[in-house]
Symmetry: C2
Subunit: 193 residues, 2 copies
Amino acid sequence: MSTYNGRMERADAARNRARILEAAAALFAERPPQDVTMDDIAKKAGVGRGTLYRRYPDRASIAVALLDEHERELQERLLRGEPPLGPGAPPADRLAAFYAAMVRLLEDHAHLVLGTEVGRSRFETGAYGFWRAHVRALLVAAGTPDPDALVEVLLAPLAPEVYGHQRTRLGLTPDRIIEALTRLTVLLRPGSS
Amino acid sequence: MSTYNGRMERADAARNRARILEAAAALFAERPPQDVTMDDIAKKAGVGRGTLYRRYPDRASIAVALLDEHERELQERLLRGEPPLGPGAPPADRLAAFYAAMVRLLEDHAHLVLGTEVGRSRFETGAYGFWRAHVRALLVAAGTPDPDALVEVLLAPLAPEVYGHQRTRLGLTPDRIIEALTRLTVLLRPGSS
DNA sequence: AGCTATGTGGACGCTGTGTCCACTTCACTA
DNA sequence: TAGTGAAGTGGACACAGCGTCCACATAGCT
């Protein structure tokens, strides 16, 4: 029962939306997104091309929708979960926990977004805004100067392409990546101005 | 007189290569790369499609070639220039200087690469390897643990998409970006293990 | 049951890609 | 300076994927 453009979505439309997402997930799992055509998705979902385009103007937006589903759960934990991920712990520790959680998320779902031209649009997704707001708040809590500029620096290493590169080309393990990211938390420790 | 595949490049081929690069530079300057077709470039260069494809299999490789030209000069200064960019200064200062220089480079030329699907292939360019080797050497000189993992973290904020996002969407100034990047240099300062 | 806004699907035209190959030009040799 | 083969050229071609469009179907209200 989700809403579309402020008005209730028709039942058949909702059913199709679900089928599309399901089909896309299956296809993206078996081969890189850039090799999956809109037509493939439409066929697999048992839906016409026009129906597909009605909601998702391109592959990237489907990938993003899929990713959003998984991201939402982490967002919930950041807001209301246990420390150090949720509220209560010192900012530096919360950032470390956030990094660890994001790496897990990337490990599972980065492939969804890897081949797509999300490069630029990535920053426009709701999820990115959420991560930025979260980390920015941590910076503010830590009293760090110019949080707006620093946030981007702290978020950049979480770009899916960067993660994919580290894992695939360089053969780094998730743990080593987390370790490296965690070192950034010194910037939020008291007395590092 | 450059060489191609180990064998001397024929004079007409060299001339065409230059014309292609020149035409591409002009076109990329007037509109985003993804709106420039291979055909546009071939036409403007006064060259057939086949000739174009002979050396540059896609738009991205042209953009990269163009970018390489500008990057080479900075590479030279890193190797043999005056401190703090060149050898002689403490690693943290050299990293700060490197960041400032890269921001200047991005400011001038990021547009070349912004619309292209260089996202993934970016890591495979010679230039990226160079930056990585440079920063890695600085990390080693500073005695930082696991330099291989940390390098990627330090380089990630220099991704053209990230830079474009900061400048365009967020309206940050180059100076503010440099400032934020410079804070990362604490990781190379003595006694931050 | 009738009505209308909403949703559907596939045929269609188009744009850009990359390949292919007959032809041209170069640079070397005698 | 003419001959020769290798290297380079260019545009015609076939094709794939995109996004649109619109006649038709269906849901959900009255």
